[in-house]
Subunit: 215 residues, 2 copies
Amino acid sequence: MPTSRSYGDACGIARALDVVGERWALLVVRELLFGPQRFSDLRRGLPGASSNLVADRLRELTARGVVQRRKLAPPAGSWVYELTEWGRELDPVIVALGHWGLRVPLPEAPVTLGPVSVLLYLRTAGRPAPGDDSSVQIDFDGRVWTARTSGGQVRIEAGEAAGADAVLHTDPATLNALLEDPDGLDAALAGGSATVAGELAAVRRLIGSVAAASA
Amino acid sequence: MPTSRSYGDACGIARALDVVGERWALLVVRELLFGPQRFSDLRRGLPGASSNLVADRLRELTARGVVQRRKLAPPAGSWVYELTEWGRELDPVIVALGHWGLRVPLPEAPVTLGPVSVLLYLRTAGRPAPGDDSSVQIDFDGRVWTARTSGGQVRIEAGEAAGADAVLHTDPATLNALLEDPDGLDAALAGGSATVAGELAAVRRLIGSVAAASA
DNA sequence: CCGCATCCGTTTCGATACTG
DNA sequence: CAGTATCGAAACGGATGCGG
């Protein structure tokens, strides 16, 4: 008899790994943490995963109740994948795992860094001033998120913001570098790897909130 | 060589999974959460894993700095595996994952349940009264742990306790059932699936602390 | 016995190619 | 764009062997 893939263990940890322990599964969940994504956007966020792998994981996670498939309203009409309520409860688990993993040395080149990973880092590590209530739209090569600061926290949502104080256009690697060294912003703006429309001060406060927290 | 299996992603989550994302890896860490274990005891706690799998994971986790190998002082003289300081920091991650996994339906029979899993559940879910300061030694088929209650928490340590208030001798499945239904203790004692020496009241308080927390 | 290493059939992964 | 089909390479899982 071929052994089942299940660990056959009643422990909650093993049961969780029965569902999200397969290779790539938690990274698919990571990509969905900030909202629904289309298949091709998921692939862009997981460049190392082949298409059948992504399709397999989505099918399994959907069957297990972690992910659900939904059709966007017309005129878009395309299909998106999103976390279920239960799937969203993986958020603190994934954040805790990611914090632990920061001490792992970077893998050999070439190393990728997707939009979701950087925004997750911003949301987790950023500690804006409690009185800082602003919203910055972040454009990554055509895909758009919004970072809102309020109550000393950063919240990330997919899509454009109505009435954003600023729009930051850059790429994930540049933003990641700016989170670790906010003083690089002027050079990035001068060099064209980042552009800002609207209130530059709001962008400064946002990207400075990570370094401020570790200081 | 293992870089071919790496996700090649700079995100902390992916880097963590590069280290503990392989099959069985986190369950090996789970087994070590309460202290050093010998190879054969590890195998007993992971009945579904073949010996080479356990040896492989231990070697990888040791090479990555999550686990270390140590020789016990004479006269024992045998080797044990234990978590490094960094490895112990996986504790909250594993607990959070295990809590999430409680909602996964139990796998098909046969289902195992090891000592560490039950004790982890006791430590995570137990909320003893703040004034309850006692220690219960728990014997599982020759392997011994100690559960101490103090400050409204349960702490678990491997090995015997000096001056334990009671000794509970049972098996993991029985203890797990008792944590979910403490009223079954008298029946378990009468049926012989559990025996208690010393202060029975301390054992009652300990196993009742889980149900009390969920009430 | 304990602590692995080796062998081998089965399953999964990962890259490329292909279809609606 | 959104997946499926295919195939070689790796990893898994079980059994067995071997030195202390």
